[in-house]
């Protein structure tokens, strides 16, 4: 279906004709309180643009994949694990997740975290960390603390 020329906001970071979806199918991977809206998924564009929102205290899945993420924080604040780093992120910050880099986004305990994510339309499926991967990550105290919470 052709993408509408103009989709105004209908509420804060909700749009006319854009369905509010669960981040992933429940039970397929660990996550908490995340919604997904696909803003652009057009055959003439080689990437998709999605908007994710994590409620206060929620988090995305800790995962990695061959495809990259280009993230623009739009709303709220939180933290992100990207490779061997833990970032404090707030509105308008840019976050780049390179191929095969472990990553996870967490909203602050008292604020949501909303972000745009650009991703190749053709892409591989995410991989979850094995017990050995998690053990390696926990050798870094920063990551150990992030993963534990």
């Amino acid at each position: 279906m052709a993408t509408d020329v103009h989709r105004p906001q209908t509420g804060t970071l909700r749009w006319r004709g854009v369905e509010l979806l669960e981040y992933k199918r429940a039970g397929t991977a660990p996550f908490r309180d995340v919604t997904r809206q696909t803003l652009f998924d057009d055959p003439t564009l080689r990437c998709q643009l999605r908007y994710f929102e994590i409620a206060a205290g929620g988090h995305t899945t800790l995962e990695r994949h061959l495809h990259a993420h280009a993230v623009v924080i739009q709303h709220g604040r939180g933290r992100a694990l990207v490779g061997d780093r833990v970032l404090d992120v707030a509105a308008h910050d840019l976050v780049h997740v390179a191929p095969l880099t472990w990553h996870q986004f967490k909203a602050a305990p008292d604020a949501p975290l909303g972000f745009l994510c650009m991703v190749n339309a053709e892409r591989d499926r995410p991989e979850l960390p094995s017990a050995a991967d998690l053990a390696r990550m926990r050798e870094n105290p920063l990551l150990a603390q992030f993963i534990a919470v």
Copy 2:
């Protein structure tokens, strides 16, 4: 060069390590008071994400091309000509410019207009309207008024 993992805002819609550029080389096409910042241009992503900001009273070039635009308004307000429509746009609105569609963005007389634009990394060059194209657009009173101002 690899894209930095984290580029926080250094000012309103300015980022660490992101160069503030002129929209286009002066004299190559008509435009007024537009800056360009390339937020993501990474070989692992098949699209680029750019941030454009038009100062109050300014405008982008009226043009068309084979590639599409996926636009998220980030800041301020203004109007956009897209095909045979003139849209009032404000923060967070989504605008889709389909292939070969004439388009132009104008900031309000008293407010800037800033927007993200996702575009295929491999793309054709824009085409400017001929006198005949402009005459056809002016047959539509809405477009005639938009183009004249």
